[in-house]
């Protein structure tokens, strides 16, 4: 037991690697603050386009969304990071993460928003339009607020996934939490920094997971 703690939770190593790990944590938070709004924005655009029920819009959009749902985010990231330089376009890890997430999580958010918009009864738009609101105004003031409330658990759940996904940045040398922890591990020849990173992820995301599990239980019960 003593030996296990010395190996996996070594206090001296925690102290030594703390600054490196904390720098990683800050970058993870920063990265999340950039990619979550980016994904939400992309999703919103997709969903609003999808509400135009024209086949020429609908089918390509569905193909776009399915394409990125089928594509592992890491593959997308590597494609941008390692593939694009061959076309003379070297964006750097950070920009690649941002673009890949915009495309990938945007599709997921888009599906969620779309389901939300479809869950609002058609009478709501008609009521709004009948008072003279434009299509966009009806969408902004009447549909979206109700849609978001209806799919809030899904939005939060996807956001949790996005934050977890920022750990992929480590593969393209973005110095986020996992990357920094691995750096510290190879410097100290000890796995403690990775364990610490895992604990940080857990403490940071646990409240959200708890909240979600409450909301999801209620959502499924409501469908009965």
């Amino acid at each position: 037991m003593e030996a296990m703690i010395q190996t996996f939770f070594n206090v001296e190593i925690i102290a030594a690697s703390w600054p490196i790990v904390v720098a990683g944590l800050l970058n993870t938070v920063l990265l999340s603050l950039i990619v979550v709004p980016l994904g939400l924005f992309g999703g919103l655009i997709l969903a609003m386009l999808a509400s135009i029920r024209h086949p020429l819009v609908r089918w390509p959009l569905m193909a776009w969304v399915d394409f990125f749902r089928a594509f592992p985010p890491l593959v997308l990231l590597i494609l941008l990071f390692a593939g694009l330089p061959f076309a003379g376009l070297d964006l750097g890890g950070f920009a690649c993460v941002a673009i890949a997430f915009f495309l990938n999580t945007g599709s997921y958010y888009g599906e969620i928003f779309r389901a939300g918009i479809e869950s609002v009864p058609a009478g709501q738009v008609e009521a709004g339009r009948s008072t003279g609101l434009s299509r966009l105004q009806a969408m902004t003031y009447i549909i979206l607020p109700q849609a978001v409330r209806n799919v809030l658990p899904d939005l939060l759940s996807n956001t949790l996934e996005v934050v977890k996904l920022t750990s992929l940045g480590s593969v393209v040398a973005v110095p986020e939490l996992l990357y920094q922890a691995r750096q510290a591990q190879s410097l100290t020849y000890n796995p403690t920094p990775i364990v610490v990173a895992a604990i940080i992820y857990f403490l940071m995301l646990w409240p959200l997971v708890r909240l979600l599990s409450r909301l999801e239980n209620r959502a499924l019960a409501g469908r009965r």
Binding site: F71, P72, S170, L178, L220
Partner: protein
């Protein structure tokens, strides 16, 4: 050579593609193996935990909830890295394949337990009472009356989650598994050409696109209406 030709020559180079096709195909096999193992063991473990949880043994349930929360909070890549780079310090050295399999199976277990459990608890109390009043035992009621209804409810969320987690097999690259992405990456660095990567990307689409489309159908079909 026009720009277009140069583009084709770089990204879709026939010679390179032909040379590395076997590697990529082998990667496809590894990805499928991993995916099947993850789905089977992850879903089975998730269902088992949900059934255990329905026994309502307090301390056991706290433990189950903690495990589920843990694997829902941790990024899959962190779990994989911890297993592959961390466990060897404790004299256990799982291969990259095993690390990826077990990590993603744990994650799927956690998510599916939560979904199965939500399904079970959403079945009306009257169903339990009717079955118990005819003399069915707790287990018989769970298996014959509650679970069949619950499973139906869980199909849409479960398929989506399963696809998302199975796609994570690409993370195996990080721990040297030669699944599709791993095979494509090493082919790319050997050939100094991105064509293998394009092949890998295409392989993922061929594998997962049908599943995504199928899931969309299932979702429509099992939208629960009485």
């Amino acid at each position: 050579m026009t720009t277009w030709d140069r583009f084709l020559d770089t990204f879709f180079n026939g010679k390179v593609m032909l040379k590395y096709l076997p590697d990529i195909l082998w990667g496809v096999v590894v990805t499928i193996e991993l995916a099947i193992l993850i789905v089977l063991s992850g879903l089975a473990a998730g269902l088992a935990l949900a059934l255990l949880r329905s026994l309502a043994i307090r301390p056991l349930n706290w433990l189950i909830i903690f495990i589920v929360d843990l694997f829902r909070s941790l990024p899959p890549l962190v779990i994989i890295v911890l297993m592959y780079f961390g466990l060897p310090y404790a004299e256990v050295s799982p291969s990259g394949f095993v690390s990826t399999w077990l990590s993603l199976a744990f994650v799927l277990m956690a998510f599916s337990e939560e979904i199965f459990w939500a399904g079970i608890t959403s079945i009306h109390k009257g169903q339990w009472e009717a079955a118990r009043s005819t003399g069915l035992s707790f287990g018989e009621t769970l298996m014959n009356v509650v679970l069949p209804q619950a499973l139906r409810l869980t199909i849409p969320p479960l398929t989506n989650r399963t696809i998302a987690i199975t796609k994570g097999t690409a993370l195996g690259t990080v721990v040297a598994v030669s699944e599709i992405l791993g095979a494509a990456s090493s082919a790319m660095s050997n050939s100094y050409n991105p064509s293998p990567l394009m092949m890998g990307a295409a392989a993922y689409l061929v594998l997962f696109l049908p599943v995504v489309v199928l899931a969309r159908r299932l979702e429509r079909r099992f939208a629960w209406k009485r």
